[in-house]
Symmetry: C2
Subunit: 442 residues, 2 copies
């Protein structure tokens, strides 16, 4: 019998199509044609049916969906460890803002490349980013081959990128036009927060989102100070403020949502607002612990984000999953809370849902885009193996990922990046890092 | 000029002798003779002065003290992921105890080897263990070349290892005799807890500790249930109970200490009791968050432990440091709490102090034993580098460790274990793991 053609077959000891342990395929394989998954099954079955141009077999490999980081600031990788263990305002005003005010497009481009390298090497295949100089972020992202939702941040004060807001709208119009039909990059509308954006700015960006059928991504109810400021100015909470401005909807992606009461949770659920949960950053900045378990009970779709490397200090979604799963147990004094499958779901298919992209990515299904990672399970910390989601959430780390395929393209093989020049990126970033600290010494 | 002889010189871009960033030696090196550090300085200086038999240079390497895991149950590596996300008693009584009741000396030996491999590969050079079949644990540990404090656990019910307590005392007498002058292995006295050991048993083990000048290691105030049981039985808290039995002292190592009030903290400080803080396990089992910052303020020496892999689910001390540093920030709503240097200190020199071994290990100093790890800093998640303790606590992971030297002996080079046969250990553990689950299906 004539074999069918496939561009790539991946095979390994285990294939986990989603976040459910019982769905594991032992001696599994997946076939890809172009950017799309065309078959999933046992190695035997797939190799009988398909003739692949390329076959990557990983004996102790686990084949799974790539992880989805629903909130980050990739270019802030350059600030990792620049200043830690400080009060939030000291950190921002004395360390981050001064460096950002001198920030150049090239530094953003280079620093984004660094974060892309780190994300791919730790198993992330899709991310949602909010930052400055988004054309540079997008240029780096295109080179990497990652799937991304990218937005230029807006606030009431002048931006290091575009100056006055007015120029910002022209800047994002160009972004939307340029990436309209891009297979991997989607542009988002991106107010920074309710405390840095006037109601007019928030509303106008809502119109931009609607006009472009784009996500509306915003930091929301991140900490007590934000809530207090909002109450003082508008006599309501940040969630209520967005509600009054008619900005709560299924394409609203709210990052953090630490300070929510039960009524606000209901409101987010009612409007099908998506939440990006950034636990490690919320801990490091002492913002608090978001009531994620309650949000899930209310039916809210919750994805996981690392936030930027300046407040995490890494973008390893495996580490983030571990923190999420154990934090909510102790926060609720309930060891059954946020179990491994729920947590893995949040980092995969729920992440895709947060980004309104569940038809494209977030699980291994025929017809979906091929966003796939392979882990090497032949390691002491992953042996023996009783339950895959448990290992992935409680024991695995980004460094266990050996191959990464995004949109059908191999972007990492045997931990070597194929789209990015890692040694060059690291060398360049060391120079940029030296400039950052030398400037501080002036 | 005649060069001095050294057995081994390690050199690399950075050498961090302790937990303080300002003490970094750039282009640093360290010379070792036998089991001892004999010189620390720049590469230039050391290579001019010494002729080493072996020279390991790691261009982007960071040379630092190995990490000290002050509380684990190595052999429980076999149970990693066997059962998670369950109430504590269901987990113990329906999953862990049934398997442990069928536990054989060989399974303990093999499973300990697995954990030793994981510990070395994630940068731990010393550990304090509490488990069953300690002769097997010690045999595996001797093979690995790790530095360890090992104890056979006692409780009022029969042990799978020695049966009745009486036999247990004979068993530990043999252990003490066998390891009396061992360069790497120290035996400890090891009551499980105040709720599983009668006052008589606790006291008798206190005498064993005293007679052998050994550590007295115990789980203490781990959770609400323990405190409630103790209050019901003895009308006092676990700490008060030990106080009344005259068992609080500088060689008492209390693991967990989650449920302490201010008065108990003062009591532990007054008696110079050492604390092993196991945050990830306390979170995963929903036990609570130990008041570590208060303990440090009271002058208590606090080390870090991973607890066993059955409740963590790894023994990666880098991940544990990250969790410790960020948890106490959010628990106290203070982003300056438990800073990177404090956390790194807890995982190194304070860990050595917990084990009364600060003259031997815990920092790189001339005359101390050579317990040293080297990390590869030439990676996206560790670039650029502004502050080493920050990177080590907030961004590094066990997989970044490339070489490990314990007591002057190279136990891992380029991530290949030299004392243990990793492929054989993994293959054997897969078989043992299959027996564990097959038995459950009978």
């Amino acid at each position: 019998m004539q074999k069918l053609q496939a561009d790539l077959i991946l095979s390994g000891n285990h294939l986990l199509p989603d976040s459910t342990h019982k769905n594991v395929v032992n001696s599994g394989a997946i076939a890809i044609k172009g950017d799309t998954i065309i078959a999933i099954g046992t190695q035997k079955k797939l190799l009988e049916a398909y003739q692949p141009d390329q076959h990557i077999h990983t004996e102790h490999g686990l084949i799974m969906s790539g992880l989805i980081n629903t909130h980050t600031h990739a270019a802030m990788a350059c600030f990792r460890g620049l200043a830690d263990d400080l009060p939030l305002m000291t950190w921002l005003e004395e360390h981050i803002f001064p460096v950002e005010s001198r920030w150049t497009p090239d530094a953003v481009y280079q620093s984004t490349l660094l974060s892309l390298a780190e994300m791919i090497k730790s198993g992330t295949t899709s991310f949602c980013d909010m930052y400055l100089f988004t054309k540079e972020v997008a240029r780096a992202t295109e080179e990497s081959g990652m799937r991304a939702w990218l937005g230029e941040v807006f606030y009431d004060f002048p931006s290091p990128c575009y100056g006055a807001s007015e120029n910002g709208f022209a800047y994002v119009d160009e972004l939307f036009a340029h990436y309209r039909d891009h297979p991997l990059i989607s542009v988002t509308a991106n107010p920074h927060s309710v405390y840095t954006c006037s109601p007019d700015l928030l509303t106008r960006l809502g119109t931009v989102a609607q006009d472009n059928d784009a996500l509306y991504t915003i930091h929301l109810s991140e900490n007590e100070a934000e809530v207090a400021t909002c109450k003082e100015r508008y006599n309501c909470s940040p969630v209520e403020h967005l509600k009054q401005l008619d900005l709560l909807g299924s394409k609203t992606v709210a990052a953090h949502c630490v300070m929510l009461d039960d009524r606000e949770i209901k409101l987010l659920a009612k409007h099908n607002v998506k939440v990006s949960h950034c636990q490690e950053s919320n801990m490091k900045l002492a913002s608090g612990t978001a009531p994620i378990v309650k949000m899930l009970e209310a039916g809210i779709t919750v994805g996981i984000g690392t936030d930027g490397a300046a407040s995490n200090n890494d973008v390893d979604m495996f580490g983030e999953m571990n923190t999420v799963a154990i934090t909510h147990k102790v926060a609720r004094m309930d060891s059954t809370a946020m179990n491994a499958e729920q947590t893995l779901y949040a980092a995969t298919l729920a992440g895709a849902k947060v980004l309104n992209a569940e038809k494209q990515t977030g699980s291994l299904e025929i017809g979906k885009k091929a966003d796939i990672i392979v882990l090497n399970m032949n390691q002491p910390h992953l042996t023996p193996m009783y339950n895959l989601p448990s290992h992935l959430v409680y024991a695995a780390r980004g460094a266990d990922v050996v191959h990464s395929i995004i949109n059908g393209r191999v972007v990492m093989k045997d931990r070597i990046l194929t789209t990015l020049n890692e040694p060059e990126i690291l060398a360049r970033m060391r120079e940029i890092g030296q400039n950052v600290t030398n400037h501080g010494k002036d």
